[in-house]
């Protein structure tokens, strides 16, 4: 089986978000970049499938050269080779077009990614890739089992889950608890250094989205503390001041 895992290179979940250049650029100062947490679940599930019944895993990232440490980490976790599409990932449509272009003719049985990136949170790339390749896309997937040419999936829905069956190939946007995040071991880290990482140039697209400017939410006011033996006051404040009861 051939699995393509698409990973984004995103600010660590504890990052402070700031912008520069008149609020048009993300401030990378002091920011640590990681594999998107949802994408990390997708990768972990791919590695589990490989360990259970054999597979080759290709990781794909659309990004400039600074994403290579993130790609190497995915190789250390268990991917066999990698493709970097050498371009700034400007929006979902652009990213999806690059993924579809690489996947076409690649013979992948499974295209796994995260349910959403944690920078733009669009939750869109899997659907667009599915449409571009004319194959099903399912998201958010919390369970994935392969049975021959079919897969059994569970998808999270509001207040519960839905069980599905789908034939390979398809695209899945993954989330927990599909697998446990994997931490690379020393052997993985050593071998990742020599695994193939192919750099390709992007295909042209017209994405139809243009950034005007970023904004930060207004600062939060100070917290009002209430004595533990005075919950009645809390209720009064919620009712009359916050007006939420």
């Amino acid at each position: 089986m051939k699995i393509l895992v698409c990973i984004s290179h995103v600010p660590d979940t504890t990052s402070k978000i700031n912008f520069t250049d008149n609020n048009t650029k993300f401030d990378t100062n002091g920011v640590q970049f990681i594999i998107g947490p949802y994408d990390d679940y997708a990768l972990a599930r791919a590695v589990e499938l490989k360990e259970a019944s054999g597979a080759t895993i290709t990781v794909l990232n659309v990004g400039l050269a600074d994403t290579e440490p993130t790609i190497r980490k995915a190789l250390a976790i268990g991917a066999d080779d990698a493709i970097r599409v050498n371009a700034e990932p400007t929006d979902s449509f652009f990213v999806a077009s690059q993924i579809a272009a690489q996947a076409k003719g690649g013979g992948y049985d499974l295209i796994l990614m995260g349910r959403e990136s944690i920078d733009y949170n669009s939750g869109a790339v899997h659907g667009i890739v599915g449409e571009m390749l004319g194959i099903p896309s399912v998201s958010p997937v919390m369970k994935l089992e392969i049975e021959g040419v079919k897969a059994k999936l569970a998808r999270e829905i509001e207040g519960g889950k839905e069980y599905l069956e789908v034939s390979l190939p398809f695209v899945a946007g993954c989330q927990e608890p599909i697998a446990e995040w994997k931490i690379p071991n020393m052997r993985g880290i050593m071998s990742a250094r020599t695994k193939p990482l192919k750099v390709v140039e992007p295909v042209a697209t017209d994405s139809g989205v243009r950034l005007e400017k970023f904004e930060l939410p207004p600062a939060k006011g100070a917290v009002k503390m209430i004595a533990a033996d005075n919950v009645v006051e809390l209720v009064t404040l919620l009712k009359n001041e916050a007006k939420v009861l």
Binding site: N121, S122, A124, G127, G173, K220, L234
Partner: protein, 317 residues
């Protein structure tokens, strides 16, 4: 401007978030057609007129009773063309968001999800969307002639602005490929307030010590008509079902009131609650980081405070 709104339903009723989508489309101005897919009560369909739809379409093919992503996308793309729509508006959800992405790809439309307010059309078409899991916003121009926008909860206020509309049957031309995924079964909490749509959320963390103590949280939720939520470790340990997990890697909530009990307030948890209007934190540690993100706080033992709070709210309502 012609606007098509995808209205999602659950158990025959249009979802509240979809009514917000209709209200949003109405507030944008222009002609609003709403489309519902699958089994929906007739009165629910007609009532879409009250919230601003001038036309209501219903794709009632029984194959569409379950939300198959590809099939729904095919229906919406055809409706978009038939209605000569310029914009598709839908409420972001576990179904709406992935469906919207496929529709945008089918139509070659500009796409934005997590939109939080009405587009600015004074020059072009600029939407404000939430990014970095609620930690920031991006104003983006949608430059293609066709547009698909997914809106976040509370992006518009549901108001009665018209009268019930008549319902037109919509004939979708579906192919076998649209049903290449089969939904075999589903499990859903019934009779409960659903977390992503709730106006009040009562959420518990590891400070609750174990699943056997959730009775007090459920009691309070019941008194408030609230949904129950939890932190990630709580669902990881199986104390609560996964769909209650709030945060960066779980459900992002946007209630009027979020009550956090025995949750420390890790940045990844806060990412899921920062769209709440009002946050109350109850924690026995005065230095818990959650207090910095709260509107009201009580330092104390949850097991002591919860029953008292429940009584005080009952008395006040």
């Amino acid at each position: 401007m012609n606007i098509l709104v995808f209205t999602e339903s659950a158990e025959g009723k249009i979802k509240k978030t979809s009514l917000e989508a209709v209200a949003f489309a109405h507030a944008m101005g222009g002609n609003v057609s709403a489309i519902a897919i699958g089994q929906v009560e007739q009165a629910e369909l007609e009532n879409l007129g009250k919230y601003g739809a001038t036309r209501v379409l219903h794709a009632a093919d029984e194959k569409l009773n379950q939300g198959v992503i590809q099939a729904y996308a095919a229906v919406l793309a055809k409706a978009f063309q038939d209605e000569q729509a310029d914009v598709l508006v839908l409420a972001d959800s576990s179904l709406g968001t992935p469906v919207g992405a496929r529709v945008a790809a089918k139509l070659d439309a500009s796409l934005a999800s997590n939109v939080v307010q009405l587009p600015d059309t004074s020059s072009g078409f600029v939407v404000k969307r939430s990014i970095y899991t609620g930690k920031a916003f991006a104003n983006v121009s949608l430059t293609k002639s066709k547009k698909v926008i997914g809106i976040k909860k509370n992006a518009a206020e549901v108001k009665e602005v018209g009268s019930p509309a008549s319902v037109t049957a919509f004939q979708a031309s579906l192919s076998a490929a649209d049903f290449s995924t089969t939904i075999t079964s589903s499990e859903k909490a019934t009779g409960e307030v659903l977390l992503p749509e709730a106006n009040i959320v009562v959420s518990g963390g590891r400070g609750m010590k174990g699943p056997e103590h959730w009775g007090a949280i459920e009691e309070l939720a019941k008194t408030l008509g609230a949904a129950t939520g939890c932190s990630k470790p709580v669902s990881d340990m199986g104390w609560r079902p996964h769909h209650e997990h709030v945060g960066q890697t779980g459900v992002k909530v946007a209630p009027q009131l979020y009550i956090a009990i025995g949750i420390s307030g890790a940045i990844q948890h806060l990412a899921g609650v920062n769209s709440s209007k009002c946050i109350v934190v109850i924690n026995k540690d005065a230095d818990a980081p959650f207090f910095k993100a709260a509107d009201y706080g009580i330092v104390g033992d949850a097991f002591d405070i919860l029953p008292k709070l429940n009584e005080a709210i009952k008395a006040a309502r």
